[in-house]
């Protein structure tokens, strides 16, 4: 494996970016815009955030996707901060978060933070303790330096070889400008996505966001009897790793079932603010009142909306025709129509999710006795029963392309586990490990991880598991946290 990895690094030599003026110019153009946008959001969250231009992948020659190997990297302490306390703190944060971000996707094998901390610190590329890093099994070193800039700081990252003729050879070099001291984490997330894209050809998710429901700021709901206690649950968003958590609803009611629109700025969710459940669509960066595309009332309740992949439509469950059916509506509230057409009180069709192509919808139904997952064309044809478990299954979530799997909650109880089913072969794997209750899966935008709600830590928390079953992260800590949704953009 080690020699393989070395040869991968060797492959990179042919297309090494020289850390020189043209690269710096290019890096400045790429990096300054997104990081400044991030700073705006932090400083004045009520201002509308401009959509970010998609990042162009111009360095395809560096892509090593498909090689199947995982270069082993070490990240020494960043250099250049001197005695500047703010810069020292920022450098520490970026190094720490970058390690976590790179570890997350498992594209690189990383020397542990503890082991790296025991290697003597060097202030130049030339003076790094290469023999020590080689002893730790590293193939390449992430040498990063930090400098003050007019609006924050700049980080230059060089990837240099460690072994044999590769020693001190630069494999990758980028300057990341526009980082701000108030959100050093965002700088690390940007660098991680850039490195994943340019070195591994992977669309990383380090700059994406989660939405979820929490009772951390719970207030007692008004007008309720002592035997019908209720505490408000609001919707929060955070970075994908749980950083920068903040609240986006304040209606002192129950809010859940968040669904990010593809633009990464609009959330649909189910709220009881008017005393019945209805779907609300809100741009989280604008102070406009939310829109109700399904226009519910106490006899037409709507829940669990899901955006079509192109962002033009919502699928949701409603009891407006008697039983609970699946409906599709344009995001402006027009062309609302029933696609399951059960019209039977007692039958419950629920929790729709769109296929990556937008032509099919998976949902739960108890039409056969227990709650199972079905697939149907958006035009209401081609009903196909996906699961036939002994116990009920719930909350299907269709993966993004190129995967074609559906994650769902299943289990004989008392706990549930997150299961992945391949829609084509119908083969399943259980992602979670029978610890606690695991529900409400939500796919990462690149399909490689699933966020879910789990009781394994005592209270309900959001955690993330890889699509191979390794528990990676606990995202939340404060209060009970449920009902996650993972934004597809911005990157």
């Amino acid at each position: 494996m080690m020699s393989k990895a070395s040869s991968v690094i060797g492959l990179m030599t042919a297309s090494t970016l020289v850390f020189a003026a043209p690269t710096l110019t290019r890096a400045a153009r790429i990096t300054s815009t997104p990081l400044q946008a991030q700073g705006q959001v932090q400083g004045t969250p009520t201002q509308p955030q401009q959509p970010q231009p998609p990042q162009q992948q111009t360095q395809l020659t560096l892509s090593l996707s498909g090689s199947g190997s995982h270069p082993r990297l070490a990240i020494p302490a960043f250099i250049g901060a001197g005695a500047d306390g703010d810069l020292i703190a920022a450098a520490k944060t970026v190094a720490d978060v970058l390690w976590d971000d790179l570890d997350f996707e498992q594209e690189f094998d990383l020397v542990s933070k503890d082991a790296a901390a025991r290697v003597p610190v060097a202030q130049t590329v030339e003076t790094q303790a290469y023999d020590r890093w080689q002893d730790l099994g590293a193939d390449a070193l992430v040498v990063a330096s930090i400098q003050r800039a007019p609006t924050g700081f700049t980080i230059d990252v060089k990837l240099v070889g460690i072994r044999g003729a590769d020693r001190q050879q630069q494999k990758f070099g980028q300057s990341y400008k526009g980082c701000v001291l108030t959100n050093a984490r965002a700088c690390a997330h940007f660098i991680s996505d850039d490195m994943h894209l340019k070195i591994r050809g992977l669309d990383g998710v380090a700059q994406t966001h989660l939405a979820f429901t929490s009772d951390r700021d719970a207030q007692r709901l008004a007008g309720r009897s002592l035997s019908a206690q209720g505490q408000s649950k609001e919707i929060y968003i955070s970075d994908y790793d749980g950083g920068n958590q903040y609240r986006v609803t304040a209606n002192q009611s129950l809010n859940l079932g968040s669904s990010w629109a593809p633009d990464g700025r609009t959330l649909a969710y189910t709220s009881w603010i008017n005393g019945y459940e209805d779907i609300y669509v809100s741009n989280i960066f604008q102070a406009r009142p939310p829109f109700r595309p399904a226009a519910g009332d106490s006899h037409k309740q709507n829940q669990f909306s899901s955006w079509s992949p192109d962002g033009t439509k919502l699928a949701f469950a409603s009891d407006r025709d008697g039983g609970w059916d699946i409906y599709v509506v344009n995001s402006d509230g027009t062309n609302l129509h029933n696609i399951t057409n059960s019209h039977r009180e007692g039958i419950i069709n629920n929790t729709p999710t769109w296929s990556p192509s937008g032509t099919q919808i998976a949902f739960t139904s108890d039409r056969g006795g227990t709650n199972q997952i079905y697939i149907m064309g958006v035009d209401g044809t081609g009903l196909d029963k996906l699961t036939s478990d002994a116990s009920s299954t719930d909350r299907p979530t269709w993966s993004p392309a190129p995967f074609n799997t559906i994650a769902y909650a299943a289990g004989p109880g008392p706990g549930h586990d997150i299961v992945l089913i391949d829609v084509t072969t119908r083969k399943t794997i259980v992602l979670t490990d029978q610890i606690g209750d695991n529900e409400s899966p939500a796919f990462a935008p690149n399909g490689r991880h699933v966020a879910f709600r789990t009781s394994r830590y005592g209270k309900d928390q959001i955690a993330i598991v890889s699509n191979t079953g390794k528990i990676q992260r606990k995202v939340t800590d404060l209060g009970n946290n449920t009902s996650p949704s993972w934004a597809r953009t911005p990157r």
Binding site: A222, G223, R224, S225, L226, S227, A228, Q229, G230, Q231, K233, L254, L256, G257, W272, G275, Y276, E277, S298, H299, Q301, Q303, F304, D319, W324, E345, G346, I348, N350, T351, T364, D366, N371, S392, D394, R395, A409, G413, P414, H416, D437, E439, S440, R453, T482, S483
Partner: protein
């Protein structure tokens, strides 16, 4: 509908109208007198979908912890105007509601004997306070997923509503809503807690 309650009802209406003329401000509608004891037996009709309590019958806890209905007012104007519930806000009424919660077995929206008796008692209160508009909330214990439980809670609320309708109450007075497993009454993680959490609450939303 039996014609039996009609006579006392008319008498009560006449009485309250007289009272209303001399007091201000009159509520939109006045409570009617309760029917005589002989009319409060179990009705013979059962709503569709609630036949049989199944093997889970008897697992629902008794409702003794819930405040009992207020003393039945006598047929006098003084008693009616002194009824604290008449002048209280809906919020205050819900704090000490005379309406008792209805309990259910695991993963069930079926009404067992205890549940039907509870609803019959609640129906008497609602006949007395004929202007009250009620939201029936369905709740679940923590077993089962959040999404499924929202559906189950809705079914429980609908089952209670159907039985109240079968007892002669107008469907217009009831709305249903589910809160799934989001608002447990008892936060515990064992059957004693779960049994209290599988419930429907009757909340007064206007009067």
């Amino acid at each position: 509908m039996s014609p039996r309650p009609l006579l006392p009802l008319v008498a009560a209406l006449a009485l309250t109208l007289t009272v209303a003329c001399g007091s201000n401000p009159p509520p939109v509608a006045r409570p009617t007198a309760p029917p005589p004891d002989s009319s409060s037996g179990s009705p013979t009709s059962t709503p569709t979908g609630s036949a049989g309590a199944g093997s889970d019958a008897g697992t629902a806890p008794t409702s003794t912890a819930v405040p009992s209905p207020p003393p039945t007012p006598t047929m006098s104007s003084d008693a009616i105007s002194n009824d604290p519930l008449v002048n209280e806000s809906t919020e205050a009424i819900n704090q000490h509601s005379p309406l008792q919660p209805v309990f259910f077995a695991l993963d069930s929206d079926q009404l067992d004997d205890v549940a039907r008796h509870t609803i019959e008692d609640d129906a008497q209160v609602l006949k007395k306070y004929a202007s009250w508009v009620i939201t029936i909330e369905g709740h679940c214990d923590e077993r089962g997923t959040a999404e499924y439980n929202l559906a189950l809670g809705e079914r429980r609320a609908l089952a209670v509503k159907a039985y109240l309708q079968s007892l002669g109450l107008s469907a217009d007075r009831f709305r249903t809503v589910s809160y799934g497993k989001e608002f447990p009454f008892d936060p515990g993680h064992a059957e004693a807690s779960w049994a209290k959490n599988r419930r429907a609450h009757l909340m007064v939303t206007s009067k």
